[in-house]
């Protein structure tokens, strides 16, 4: 007689395998770090323990939060502004052919301009200050948000919008209940990729023209060839961004929870 394995049991075993896979993946990074640290020597690549110790020292000196906080503030400001503006402009361009034509060239220009050029131009025009740093990052990440949201609006299900119009839904209800839920997968996907890009660009901007932040610290430790400092600040920032990305991922899962209902 042929034995058929119960579906639920197989599903449970599969989730265990996935968890083990995740742990194995993280452990492989740790082992690679240990391996290369031993191979290259602690001066060139300090190991996890030495880096952790340095993070502790920086925390006690009060320097860690000062720089990480400054970077985080810039990242979040540029990210939130880009998401807000990008959502409005992308939605507008997706719904109106005229607006798309009017703003299309600007978006294409924003996508084509080299990032270093935008950063340098922002510092030269606005000055070596906080506003220029945030503006440069905003100008770099905004076109990506606009394009992705515009694509999302273009792929809206016209039949559902027609239903809403036939039932004379007020504009607010139309947007909140019909249009935005359709845009949610694009919105969260865009938010995650934009956050990642914003963080990389902020470090770059700080490296070129700020006197605090993770980018500034990396430049400082590069000049003194202190790999522990570079790794310490880099890792703390990466962990913070991974945590933020995790929150965005959970929000995306929550907003799309109806998809799992079959």
């Amino acid at each position: 007689m042929r034995y058929v394995e119960p579906f639920v049991e197989r599903k449970g075993r599969r989730s265990e395998v996935l968890w083990l896979g995740r742990v194995a993946s993280l452990l492989s990074i740790l082992f690679a770090w240990l391996f290369f640290s031993a191979w290259l020597g602690p001066t060139v690549l300090p190991g996890p323990a030495a880096t952790l110790e340095y993070i502790g020292q920086e925390w006690k000196r009060g320097q860690l939060w000062l720089h990480v906080g400054a970077t985080l503030k810039r990242v979040m400001l540029a990210f939130l502004l880009a998401m807000l503006l990008g959502l409005v402009l992308g939605a507008w361009m997706g719904r109106s052919r005229l607006v798309e034509v009017l703003l299309g060239a600007w978006v294409a220009l924003g996508l084509a301009l080299p990032r270093i050029l935008i950063i340098v131009a922002a510092y030269l025009v606005v000055g070596l200050n906080e506003r220029a740093a945030v503006l440069a990052v905003l100008l770099i990440i905004l076109p990506n948000v606009v394009v992705q949201i515009q694509e999302g609006v273009r792929s809206l299900d016209g039949r559902l919008i027609q239903m809403a119009q036939a039932f004379r839904l007020p504009p607010r209800r139309l947007w909140w209940r019909v249009i935005l839920p359709q845009l949610a997968p694009f919105f969260w996907g865009t938010a995650r990729s934009t956050l990642s890009l914003a963080w990389k660009m902020v470090v770059f901007v700080e490296l070129l023209g700020r006197s605090n932040g993770v980018g500034y610290q990396i430049a400082f430790y590069f000049n003194t060839f202190e790999m522990r400092g570079i790794l310490a600040y880099g890792i703390v920032m990466v962990l913070l961004l991974v945590a933020l990305d995790g929150l965005l991922y959970l929000a995306a899962e929550w907003s799309g929870r109806w998809r799992g209902r079959r």
Binding site: R159, L160, Q162, M163, Q165, A166, F167, R168, L169, R173, R177, V178, P181, W258, R259, R261, R262
Partner: protein, 235 residues
């Protein structure tokens, strides 16, 4: 209940820079409370006409309502929002959301036990019931039915048509049904408007010679639907 009048109503679509006529010179008077079936081949502009009545499509000519229309629209597919539960889908279309009315209709259409379900968890037939409930719970004075049961098997469709007749009793409204099923037209309508192939023109208006309510057991209904098929072929 609402009456409506179409005079010289035409519609053209712009396709690749060329004007393509879809509906031509439609003239029709619909009395308040009347049930009209628009019967015609695919692509003759039946659904476009419903969209014009709803205001979703502009058109040439005149369209007059005897009072401001409050339209309940049942589309070919249920068009329920998949991220809202059944109850939320029904609350959505009410100008002032009223759970009591929604629950009343969910009970009436046999879906009271499914209020917290998402549409994709229900069968196509159940989704279509919910779509009918959504159209009727706003107390419309004009109900537009766009081939509402075409996605169902004929047996289920017949059962739902019988139920629809009962549900419509609760809503005193003028009804316009788009269909390409002559039996559906004969079963539900007071008058059948036959449309020609594209561009759609009214080629005949038939009074259905049976009083309401009708039954599928009546052989005369089937004979009459065959008569409509003949007229359709001739048009």
């Amino acid at each position: 209940m609402i009456g409506l009048s179409l005079s010289q109503l035409s519609k053209r679509f712009l396709v690749k820079g060329r004007e393509v006529p879809v509906l031509e010179q439609l003239n029709l008077q619909v009395r308040p409370g009347e049930r009209i079936a628009l019967l015609g081949p695919s692509g003759c502009g039946k659904s476009t006409l419903l969209n014009i009545l709803t205001g979703l499509e502009p058109a040439e000519g005149r369209l007059d309502f005897s009072q401001p229309p409050r339209i309940g629209y049942v589309f070919q597919e249920a068009r329920l929002l998949p991220w809202l539960t059944l109850e939320q889908n029904l609350l959505l279309v009410q100008p002032r959301p009223d759970k009591g009315i929604v629950w009343g209709w969910l009970q009436r259409v046999g879906l009271a036990g499914y209020a917290s379900y998402f549409p994709q968890q229900l069968s196509i037939g159940m989704q279509q019931r919910a779509a009918v409930a959504r159209a009727l719970l706003i107390r419309p004075n004009l109900v537009l039915l766009d081939e509402p049961f075409s996605s169902l098997d004929e047996l289920t469709a017949q059962h739902m048509r019988q139920e629809l007749v009962g549900w419509l009793e609760a809503v005193p409204a003028t009804v316009i049904l788009v269909t390409h099923n002559p039996l559906e037209a004969a079963y539900l309508a007071d008058r059948v408007v036959l449309l020609s192939k594209a561009p759609g023109r009214i080629c005949r208006v038939e009074e259905v010679p049976f009083p309401r309510p009708r039954t599928y057991e009546d052989p005369a209904l089937w004979t009459y639907s065959r008569h409509l098929v003949g007229l359709l072929e001739a048009s």
